[in-house]
């Protein structure tokens, strides 16, 4: 019996073999299609999830943004202008009119603030800071009132350090103080 006769006697085997080989070839060429589609489905699912999360997060954000811009606008109006050195220095001397004290010195520190400056632990990103050294002669009550006013006045200021010394005799109420005042200013 020849090989062709053998093949002819097993038609089902031949057909099955052809089908099997076709399937193997098909799987070989399109094998990564499912994996690709699954990866794309996962990526799209994540994208949709993110979009939905954004949708929830943005709820009421517009109103918050508007009120925040208003607050920031108010802050901008209160900032010192680093270029206006004379005006800034004059501002501190003007406290003499308001308080019973003598301001003997107002000096601006030209060096960068170690706390609020670049790479400082509380580095400012949007604003800059000016540091002023004030020397004043006054009494305890006026000194306290002055510190409170520095904290609550229109420009955004904070007393970071001070040295308060009693001067005169034991019963004297006179004080001398050196005060470091930080003032928030426009970014340079």
């Amino acid at each position: 019996m020849s090989k062709i006769d053998i093949i002819k006697s097993y038609p089902l085997v031949i057909v099955s073999l052809v089908i099997t080989l076709t399937c193997v070839a098909f799987t070989f060429f399109r094998g990564d299609r499912i994996a690709t589609l699954e990866a794309r489905e996962t990526a799209l699912y994540e994208q949709i999830r993110l979009i939905e999360k954004n949708k929830i997060n943005v709820n009421g954000l517009n109103e918050d943004l508007a009120s925040l811009k208003e607050v920031v606008g108010g802050i901008e109006e209160r900032l010192f202008d680093p270029e206006q050195r004379a005006v800034n220095t004059r501002f501190f001397y003007s406290y003499e009119d308001e308080f019973d004290m003598v301001i003997t010195k107002v000096a601006e520190d030209a060096t960068e603030d170690l706390v609020l400056g670049k790479k400082g632990p509380n580095e400012l990103k949007q604003y800059s800071v000016l540091t002023y050294y004030l020397s004043v002669k006054t009494d305890f009550h006026e000194f306290l009132r002055f510190l409170h006013t520095l904290h609550t006045d229109e420009p955004i200021m904070r007393v970071s350090e001070f040295q308060l010394f009693k001067v005169g005799g034991k019963d004297s109420e006179s004080l001398e103080a050196q005060i470091n005042v930080r003032v928030l200013a426009k970014a340079e």
């Binding site: 399937c23 580095e123 955004i156 930080r182």
Partner: protein
């Protein structure tokens, strides 16, 4: 002369039989098993391919649906992202303000609170608050040192003042502990009073004291 394959004589067999030409006379015929196995293998392969194609078809439909969904919401999402970005940008101004005011206490409030702890017979001649930077590894932090100096009539008053400072909540700040040191100088022979110095260090590196249970 070349002979055709039909003319080739089968190999010689001891029983003189050409088995390939003989009919299948086994009691249980086994030829069908070859067909059966081949058909099963083909069907399995076919099922495998069809199942994968069906899954791929489903995935394509799902991906198209998701793509469509994303395209529909993309404009509103871009708007949301713009708003979020604007909010983030504006909020950094507020973070700056928080950083600017980051201190345990305002100075005027601190002076008032410390003054209230002062016992009679102890006076302040100096009140100094200094801000310094500390470093631990790569972390830089801010410390505050309060120095009080003056005179005290009786050394026990300084001890009382130190105890009052240590037990008060004036220096209890979030994530910052404090420690108190005092030193007493030689008595002034003329006045009979003792100059003293008391320093309070407020630092994030000092463990915060646990509050004692009330009652």
């Amino acid at each position: 002369m070349a002979s055709s394959s039909k003319d080739i004589q089968p190999h010689w067999r001891p029983n003189f039989c050409n088995t390939s030409a003989l009919p299948d006379i086994k009691v249980v015929r086994t030829n069908f098993m070859i067909n059966f196995v081949c058909v099963v293998v083909a069907l399995v392969a076919l099922f495998f391919v069809l199942e994968r194609e069906y899954r791929a078809h489903g995935l394509i439909a799902e991906v198209e649906r998701m793509d469509q969904q994303i395209q529909e919401v993309t404009p509103s999402n871009e708007l949301a992202l713009k708003e979020s970005e604007a909010f983030k940008s504006v909020s950094s101004n507020i973070i700056d303000i928080e950083n600017f005011y980051d201190a345990p206490e305002t100075m005027h409030a601190l002076i008032v609170k410390v003054s209230k702890l002062r016992p009679e017979g102890l006076s302040f001649d100096q009140f100094i608050v200094q801000e310094t930077l500390g470093k631990k590894g790569s972390k830089v932090y801010v410390e505050y040192k309060i120095t009080l100096a003056g005179d005290v009539e009786d050394p026990i008053l300084l001890s009382d003042f130190k105890a009052a400072v240590e037990n008060s909540d004036v220096f209890e700040f979030e994530a910052r502990g404090f420690k108190v040191d005092e030193s007493l100088m030689a008595r002034n022979v003329t006045t009979g009073i003792f100059p003293y110095r008391l320093s309070i260090l407020i630092s994030p590196q000092i463990p915060v004291k646990e509050k004692k249970a009330e009652g």
